[in-house]
């Protein structure tokens, strides 16, 4: 066990965990920030996507010891009132079915638009390809990313 100081959603948080603990479980178990989801634990499904210094990152294979004071943003911190353009587009298109993958989808999409505000259809598909949706909402995901990119 060791103490780590993290910068999460603009707040400083201290946790005492094993240095190998992935950020996903620190968020979920220690900090009770359960918006970030567990889907595979091996960086294949994207359910656990967070922003690390603004870049979409899989938190399930990111040990706390490697994070230092880099800025972490989770779905809970994406916007104050749930009104990030990507969140708004997701609601308007009514993307979710079960909804479980959607926090990860939104974190991937919002990082994409941050870096590339006007992605082409191909760029959207390519970037969103890392996030699995078992319910098959891919067509709506693309539409919502497109809508958010225009706003």
């Amino acid at each position: 066990m060791a103490t780590f100081t993290l910068n999460i959603n603009g707040k400083t948080q201290e946790v005492d965990v094993d240095p190998s603990t992935p950020i996903l479980w620190v968020l979920r178990d220690n900090l009770k920030l359960v918006g970030t989801k567990y889907g595979c634990g091996i960086a294949q499904c994207g359910a656990c996507t967070i922003h690390l210094n603004g870049t979409a990152t899989r938190s399930c294979m990111l040990p706390i010891s490697s994070v230092g004071n880099q800025e972490i943003t989770t779905i809970e911190g994406l916007s104050e009132n749930g009104d990030h353009p990507v969140q708004k587009a997701w609601l308007e298109v009514d993307v979710p079915q079960c909804g479980y993958c959607q926090a990860g989808q939104i974190m991937t999409a919002s990082a994409l638009l941050e870096q590339n505000p006007n992605p082409t259809d191909e760029e959207i598909e390519m970037v969103m390809n890392g996030n699995i949706c078992r319910c098959g909402t891919y067509v709506r995901i693309r539409k919502a990313v497109k809508m958010a990119s225009k706003s």
């Binding site: 094993d18 190998s20 609601l91 079915q97 909804g99 078992r134 067509v139």
Partner: protein, 734 residues
Amino acid sequence: MTLVKTKIGRRAFIRNTGLAGGGLVLGFNWLASCKMTPEQVNSMPKEWFELNGFLKIGDNGLVTIMSPNPEIGQNVKTAMPMIVAEELDVAWKDVIVEQAPLNTDIFTRQLAGGSQSIRQGWEGLRMAGATARQMLKEAAAQAWEVPVGEITTSEGVLTHNASGKSAGYGEIASAAAGIEVPEEVELKEQKEFKIIGTDRMNVDGTKIVTGKPLYGLDIQREGMLIAMIVHPPAFGMKLKDMDAESVKSMPGIKDVFPIVVYPEDAEKQWSDGGAIAELAVVVGNSTWECMQAKKALQVQWEEDSKPESTAYHDEALTELLNTAPKEAARKDGDVEAAFKTAAKIVESTYSAPFLAHNTMEPMNFFAHVTSEKAELLGPIQTPEFLEMTLVSVLGMPKEQIDIHMTRMGGGFGRRLYGTFAVEAAVISQKMGAPIKLVYTREDDMTQGTYRPSYKVRYKAGLDENGNLIAWHVRGAGTNDDLIFENRFPAGAVDNYLAEKHSLQTNVTTGAWRAPRSNFIAGAEQAFMDEVAEAAGKDPIEFRLELFDRAISNPVGNPEQNDYDPERYAGVLKLVKEKSNWTNGTSGKSRGVSAYYCHNSYVAQVLDLTMNGDAPNVDKVWCAVDCGIVINPLSAKNQIEGGIVDGIGHATYSAMSFKDGVPEQSNFDSYRLIRNMEAPKEIETFFVDNGIDPTGLGEPSLPPISGALANAMYKATGRRFYKQPFISDKPPLVG
């Protein structure tokens, strides 16, 4: 308005009037109560009045509607309350939806399965709204001393035109709660609907996109421990021994032990299918610590039954296809004689592998079992059956067991089998502490309860004019006999023979989104395409001819046929028109398919271009007849999801076994369809016929693999008989 007796679900209304009479009803469930904004808190009523088990009305006019059935992503949590709200005649913006807990005194069939929630809930939900509305009218009539027949309602307001009196539901709710349940109520006509048939956003949408706790895996409780299990590494193995001591001292670990989940005398329900009787358990403070201990734990296993491999399943199923069963499932005319006279014979065999459900949220459940009470909370499609099993396994009466359902990160049939919830309960009982059982993805994917593997052989005979004169289908599946003998084309062919076999295996299987239909529809519709081609006919015209036959001169007893040929032909004609079938899209290859299952009719046309070996699906047109559509916005989402899911599994996914050991255990070895592989566009069209609604969670999935195979044939000149059509390893991402 139509006058209807309030018999359906009357239990729910009667029982509750006893409790009502203006009492304060408190208590939002834990998920709904998390962090309301100040505006939300201010707009909450001071008192709630329960009019029946489905709804309560606040003194300010807000209405809480209980959604009785489990929500697995099929969106009943929005659709079911919409039906209640419609008949109650309130504005949708004034409705708050809560997930009802299991309550067999009030609700019937609290189950998510078979696409039946809307179909079977329809009348009861309408009654719930309509009786409450009637009680409000009665109460207003008494208060205003006017005849009840002169009172009208609209969007939560009662009005008596002659006297000019009016009041919101909130003002009358207290008095209405004391009114006797009416013997008869008026139901709206379809043309009077203001909510049903309109687009309404998912009631949990905001919580989903902001990451609020909604799912079983998100549950946190004071003093809660995490539990994980180790199950046998192969089918046919059972627990022999384990070295618990060496991992007990690992950081954060509370206890490590073997546990008998199902004692030999346990009374099991069908929902305990796939149960593993004894498991190794690790309990600790955190998920990560439990995962480490689980990895380090040494467990010895022993053989229980002979381990099986995929090669064996394949051979055994083929052998069954080569064997005539003792009895036919259905026999009309004489296929053998007809084949002798046929001008052309077409024969093909189709197959598909085992599939895992792979809900994105792995299996999990919270349980807190004490000597007085068992509290269970989590993702379960069959809470009522879970309760029955718990009565036996925990040795506790039903009254002491409380089951609450969370929103589920997918179901697809997997959470019909609540063995994981039973595991959570017995672990909590042993620990004497609240625990949350968590499966890793690997636990989840290798546990079993798979979609069975299947093989089917078709043989069809055509006369010299290209008329279908004989149809023989023989199917086999692992623990499942695959064939629906009374479905199309039964009833449309003079000589028809359906035969089926089931191969007993120790790899556990269960219902997987649209059981059996998920494979047989695509196989049948791909074969139908081969037969139409041999007949020299357009594939849609060929099918329509058969439906004409089933309409005008059905073979056998038409009651026996499990479909309505007119509605079936209806969706085909609609998709033909919408897709501009006759002219097609230039440069694209197209295929068609149609199927009826779970009481709904679906026809699809699919356009694709090949990208090497892989299909690039440009567009899918989908015509659907599910009667009245409750919420078109999410109904289309279900259709789209089923299409993507069906294309994905037929093209990419498979579970295989070597000596009982699953060869896939996570998404690096099990391939699921991804964004780039999904159709570019899906357009859905509903038949508007005013028939009572049927479900949509399953029906769009089964036919699509047929449309896909038929279009791939057009593009490549090759028929695709074996799923998955592409058997590459998944691409690594991330």
